[in-house]
Subunit: 103 residues, 2 copies
């Protein structure tokens, strides 16, 4: 199984519209992914390693898929629609991490 | 609930001893955290957003706790032992993210 994480780095002065993200963007993405995405998890950054430090990431969305091809098959047909929705809630360019789940 | 993630950034030339990490470090950490850590997940980076791009993070460990105070209470007494174990498997300085799980 793999985890695809979409991480939005903390940036001074950047905005992130949590209301749009949670009520519109994420439901659209999970609808597009359909049953291929086994689980969806949304995190809001609240801190970093040092006391009082900002979280490195404002938001992290992660999705579990059976495999990289399963993710690609679910994402590719909707990639453009998903990507062009991002500027509607944030000016932050997200970082994508694809991982194999080891345990 | 919160998720504490320990992310090891990809660095050219850095080493990461997966055998030690999985067989010694992570079991030690989960033993120290005890029942306070509801779940533990280990990821190995296999790719990034662009085709053929390296994963931003070589490894990510994440742990779910009930709250930040629950994490702090579980981590603080063992912080030094956990931190001094890191150079035994990698030269990478990890990034720590503490997030509230929104869904």
């Amino acid at each position: 199984m793999i985890r695809v994480s979409v991480l939005y780095p903390h940036m001074e002065g950047a905005h992130f519209d949590w209301s749009y993200y949670l009520s519109t963007h994420i439901p659209m993405v999970t609808r597009k992914f359909g049953a291929a995405a086994k689980t969806t998890s949304i995190e809001q950054g609240i801190g970093g390693g040092a006391p009082g430090a900002p979280a490195p990431y404002v938001a992290i969305a992660s999705f579990i898929f059976d495999s990289v091809p399963a993710f690609q098959a679910a994402f590719a047909p909707h990639a453009q629609e998903i990507m062009t929705d991002i500027p509607k809630y944030t000016s932050i360019e997200p970082v994508v991490q694809i991982s194999e789940i080891k345990g």
